[in-house]
């Protein structure tokens, strides 16, 4: 038994159809649970007041925004090297999810930044890289729609994904590369001095788990749709040729 067996669309559809209800239910429970825990049952921060509750949206969305791009990088590389169609379609399916997570990260960051920094936006290295990552998501989605031949579209978007990875890396690790900008360091860290207090960390980890499970459910669901759309496209082409 090999993981490559699931590159077969039939096997992927069978497995994803079986696990999708469970993943979706887990996503709903963990995400709603994490957000309710964070919003209703955590104290205010002594410095940031109640705005600390935005952490349960902003940090998971930002982590997932870059993680989704890395997942797209892996599936794009699998497409370029092994030419598995399911892999390319999984990357295509993941892009709108990653784009929405990036938008949530930008929006909640602006709403949080205004009262804390006195500004909705700063051309800080991390924020700028994150905005460029959002533009890469838009470009990636537009490129898939613009190229009619699906294999050519998969090739071109895979190359775009490789280029965009630079900004995904910068947006996640900018704080390590440049010791400047308004954005704070990591909220979650192995370093006890840097890590947020447990009362905030536990619901935060739960929210991160919820965002991850939501992504997993959506990418499975959307990949199934893309596989069906590819089959539909093939049938329509055969009809035209007949």
């Amino acid at each position: 038994m090999s993981i490559w067996e699931y590159a077969n669309p039939r096997k992927f559809m069978a497995l994803s159809g079986a696990v999708l209800p469970w993943v979706s239910a887990a996503a709903a429970i963990v995400l709603v649970g994490g957000l309710i825990w964070g919003f209703f049952f955590t104290p205010d921060d002594f410095r940031q007041g109640s705005t600390v509750k935005i952490i349960y949206l902003h940090v998971p969305a930002a982590i997932m925004a870059t993680s989704v791009w890395f997942m797209m990088l892996v599936t794009s590389l699998i497409w370029l090297i092994r030419r598995h169609h399911v892999s390319a379609l999984a990357a295509k399916a993941a892009a709108p999810v990653g784009m929405v997570f990036t938008l949530i990260g930008l929006f909640t960051g602006a709403v949080w930044g205004q009262p804390m920094w006195g500004s909705w936006w700063e051309w800080d290295p991390r924020l700028t890289a994150f905005l460029i990552l959002f533009l890469f998501y838009l470009g990636y989605i537009a490129l898939w729609e613009a190229v009619e031949n699906p294999d050519a579209a998969a090739d071109l978007t895979s190359v775009l994904c490789l280029v965009g990875t630079v900004f995904a890396v910068i947006s996640r690790y900018a704080i390590l590369f440049w010791n400047q900008g308004l954005h704070q360091g990591a909220s979650l860290s192995m370093d006890a001095e840097e890590n947020v207090a447990d009362v905030f960390a536990y619901p935060l980890w739960t929210s991160i788990g919820g965002f991850f499970l939501l992504f997993l459910a959506l990418v499975l669901y959307r990949t199934r749709t893309e596989i069906r759309a590819r089959r539909l496209q093939a049938l329509v082409q055969r009809e035209r040729m007949a």
């Binding site: 209703f40 007041g49 935005i54 949206l57 709108p96 929405v100 929006f107 949080w112 669901y221 539909l232």
Partner: protein, 52 residues
């Protein structure tokens, strides 16, 4: 039940409302596209069976 958000009530509530709205649009759009694609695929497969 509603926590006291103090001076930052608008910021916190708008962050939650905006996020939930974006997630709801994403889920709804995914479901809408999936249903439309499945319906079109079934129609195309039915046409193919009729031709046979």
């Amino acid at each position: 039940m509603m926590p006291d958000l103090g001076a930052y009530r608008v910021e916190v509530l708008s962050a939650y409302a905006g996020t939930l709205l974006l997630l709801a649009v994403l889920v709804a759009a995914s479901i809408w596209k999936a249903r439309r694609t499945l319906r079109q695929l079934r129609d195309a497969e039915a046409r193919r069976e009729n031709v046979k």
